[in-house]
Each structure stands twice: as C-alpha cells, then as structure tokens.
C-alpha cells in the first residue's frame, strides 16, 4: 500500500479571495510582512501498489481531484504506514 499526498493550489493569476482575506487578517494581527496568502487543498489517498501508480494518480488528478482550468497540483508517493 502506498500513501499518496496530493496538493492542489489555484493557478497564479486566478484570484483567491479567501487567501486575500487571510492575508489581510494576518496583517491586522500585526504580521505586516505577509504579502500574500493562497489557499489550497490537501488530499491523502491510500492506493494499492502498481507499476503505473504515478500515471494513474495523474489521471485521477486531471479527471477529478483538480480542475486544470483554475488549479495546479503535485503529489508525493510514499510507503503507507501499517494500519
């Protein structure tokens, strides 16, 4: 079993009003050094091992997990911890 961790973020150039609100909130807490905040998603998958795992996860991301019109993704594959 493998643990796949998928990180999905909005593409540069796509407005992120939630990130903007977080940045302004951090600024108002006194963290003036924060110039930008962008919100993304983090998805963990437990996937059976296989020779084409990377390709399969890529297709999963393209088909469902990320929307290529507005989002970018990357993922890491590691050994799943025994449950």
């Amino acid at each position: 079993m493998k643990k796949v961790t998928v990180y999905i973020t909005l593409k540069q150039g796509v407005l992120d009003p939630q990130g903007k609100a977080i940045q302004e909130s951090l600024n108002s807490l006194g963290y003036k050094e924060v110039e930008e905040a962008r919100v993304g998603k983090f998805i963990e998958l437990q996937v059976e091992e296989g020779p084409d795992l990377t390709e399969r996860v890529t297709v999963m991301c393209d088909k469902l997990l990320a929307n290529p019109v507005i989002e970018e993704y990357r993922f890491d594959v590691e050994e799943a911890e025994a449950l």
């Binding site: 150039g13 796509v14 009003p17 939630q18």
Partner: protein, 227 residues
Amino acid sequence: MKFAVIVFPGSNCDRDMYHAVKDVLKTEADLVWYEGSNLENYDGILLPGGFSYGDYLRCGAVASTSDIMKQIKVHAAKGKPVLGVCNGFQILTEAGLLPGALLRNEKLSFMCHQEPLVVENNETIFTAAYDKGEVVHFPIAHGEGNYFCDEETLKELKANNQIVFTYQNNPNGSVEDIAGIMNKQGNVLGMMPHPERAVEQLLGSDDGLRLFQSMIQNWRDMYAANA
C-alpha cells in the same frame, strides 16, 4: 416538448425548475433521478441549481463524473438543448461541456437577490424571444458564481458570440461581467442567475418565461421542419 429535470443528491432547485416548465409553461416534464435513468425520450435537459453532493471537492465536480452526465454529453453532441442553472452551470463547466470555471464570489459571501442582466446575444435557441441589449431581471443565489476563464478562452467566447447574458452591476467578480455562456454549437447554455425563479410576476419577475418559451418555440419549429 418534453423536458428532463435532472435530480442529484443535494439538488434543491429541481422543484422550481419542474414547476416553471410543467405548471407555468404547461409543457411536459419529469423529475429524473441521476441514477438508472434514460434520457433518450426527452427533447430538452434541464440541470437545476442546488448543492449536488454537498459541493464536496468543488461545486459540481462529483456530479460531473456521474453516469447521467455521460448520457448528457452524448445528447449534447447530437444537438439536444441543455440548460444548466447555478449548480447546473457549475456541473457543465466541470464536465467540460462549457469552457471556464466558477470561483468563489469576489467578496466571499453567498448572495441571494434579484439582478439586472443584459441579453448580449438573442440569436440563440434560448434567447430568441428577447431583444438584443434588453435588460431582464432574474434572481441570483450563489456563493461560487464568479466566472473565470483565461484570456484565450475569453477571446473565443467573444469571437463566437457565446456570451449570452452579462450582469449590469457585476455582483461576484465574473470576468467581463459574464452571467451566462453557451457552447460553440449553441445548444448548451449555462448561467448562474435563475430564470426558473422568474416566471411569475407575483414573485417579482416573469422575465425568465421567454427563455423557456424560446426553447419550446425552437423545438416546435424544428419538429415542424422535420415532419
């Protein structure tokens, strides 16, 4: 003309849509569950608003992978009219039947009120009964209706007259004030505002009636031409 109103788990404007076409426009319609249904015998497909699958992952993303969407893609390719409203619009973009995506509203809040819209293109099967440039009033009710597409797509939308409705006072940050677009073929329309909630003067506006009347008239004309 017989309409299919598609119902997903979490749809909540399906009854409004059904009421509009069945009771107000007096045409045939069925509420069609997303699983185990066949769309062969319907002349038009209506994807209503709501929160299909609780808006999990992204609005419309999970519904866009359903079996009924595979059928809708086939019928859309054959030229059958498809109207997606609100969550229906989100599902159509997620399914790739319409370009672009719907983002969180610029000011983050869910908005529910009437908006004036401009009919940008009246040479469509959905808007033939309107005048070009006419201002109509439809309710909006969404948290993620901020239409986004890249510049290249926007150029294409303009070049092919695919922008059907724009907001007069952009409420959500949509690119170029876009409220509704159609596909290149002209038989799939997606829009955030709700024409089905604007079919009775008692409820504030009946400007939405002519959208459904345009669809029905087009179907009758095609039917007569093929008879």
